[in-house]
Every structure is written in C-alpha cells, then in structure tokens.
Symmetry: C2
Subunit: 133 residues, 2 copies
C-alpha cells in the first residue's frame, strides 16, 4: 500500500492528486517548488516503475512544468529525482529565476528553508491549483 514518507509529509503541503502522482508543495517560500510522488508502494528508482508508469511520470513532470511556466513565467524549470536522503521516489519540479537565492546553483542546501506564512501559503496554493488542476 502506498504511504507518503513521513519526512516528505512533514516538509510539504498537499496540492492535488494526478493519475500517477500526489502533487505536493515544498513548504519553502524561497522557490516555487513542487514534488511529484508516484502513488506506488516500494518505488525508489524511476526504473522501479513499470514502463506505462514511467511515461505517465514524464507526462506529469511536463504538466507540472507547463503549469509553473504558465503561472510564474520563470527563467528555468529544474527537474530532479535524487532521493539520497529520502529513498521513496519523488521528483522535484522547481521554478527558478535568475535573481533567486541559489541561482545559478541547484537549490539543495543553498539557503535554509523559509516556511510560508499562512497567508502566503494560501495565496500560493490558490495560484498553483488554478493551473495544476
């Protein structure tokens, strides 16, 4: 049975459910930062997904990227499946701008996370749900 890893659950806010993935927002107002987590038990690497799910994952990465571009017109989308700390497969889809706190470096470890205020979180979720569906 699929269960979201407790560390991911603690760091994120649920946004929506897509055919394959749970879509989450990282609770870090430094960057508009989504996580896609396939609702499949025991999946660690992309290659643990069956081929149809692998294509569905790419489709949902593209859908998330397009939504972030539509809502925010960022300079770049960063996409990554790392999983060195939390093994459960999760894909980062991050809107990057040339004046953000880490640019041009990757976001991991660049600056400490700044949780959203309740108001800013509500605004961000409304903005993202409008494009993420």
């Amino acid at each position: 049975m699929f269960e979201l890893h407790q560390r991911i659950a603690a760091d994120t806010v649920p946004v929506t459910e897509w055919p394959l993935c749970r879509v989450l927002l990282m609770n870090d107002s430094t960057y508009p930062w989504l996580l896609l987590v396939p609702r499949r038990a025991g999946v660690v690497e992309i290659t643990d997904l069956d081929p149809a799910d692998q294509h569905a994952l790419l489709d949902e990465i593209a859908r998330a990227s397009t939504a972030l571009r539509q809502a925010l017109a960022p300079h770049r989308i960063n996409v990554a499946a790392l999983g060195n700390v939390v093994a459960q497969l999760h894909v980062h889809v991050i809107a990057r701008d040339t004046d953000d706190a880490a640019w041009p470096k990757p976001v991991w470890g660049a600056v400490p996370a700044t949780p959203y205020t309740p108001e800013a979180l509500e605004t961000r979720l409304a903005q993202l749900r409008a494009v993420l569906g």
Copy 2:
C-alpha cells in the same frame, strides 16, 4: 540543426548515440556520471520536446539508469535536468554511492572535478559501452 553546446562538449567524452540522445560521460572520475542530450535543435526545457520525444527521453533515462546499475551496482541513481548554466537540455544520470565525495548531497559544486587519466578513461568507457550499447 542540432549542435552540442561547446561547454558540454568540453566537459564530456562521447560514449554512444541512442535514438533520441547523444550519450556522454562527464570527464570527472569522482562519480560515474552520464549526460543525455536530445539531438534536437533549440530545446531547452523537457516541455520543448514533442510528446513522443518526451517518452523517448524517459525511456533513455531508464536505459542509462539500468546500465549504470548493471555495471556498478550503486546505492542510488540521481537524475536531473537543471540547465541553469548551460541552457541546452541535458539530463544528468549519476551513479551515487554512500561513500562518494558528495554523499548525501547532490554532486554539483561539492568537490572540484577530477578528470580521468587516459587509462582510467579507457577502462570506464569500455565498461560503460559494454552495458550502454
């Protein structure tokens, strides 16, 4: 017309050609580190690829991941399309071990690249070509 970005060309060694991507080895002996570069002109984001090419990209990411696992049995595969420094779409597929120089952090910026010696490069290329085809 597709042309490999000169910065990528300078940092890598060609390994093989797949239906969509040129497969390259990063010239950094710190990690077994492949780059997949779709041979499509002007492509920056994954969403710039048409849907069939997007699925082909995932297929080739999976193929590279499986080959690295087969050859090296790493602890983890890191997959990332960042492109903050070089815009041309390129996907990192990196074999990670728990005793590597950056673990558990991402590899970018962790330690300076250590180019392969000519002998080590030949050995690595032979090993990878045997599984990458």
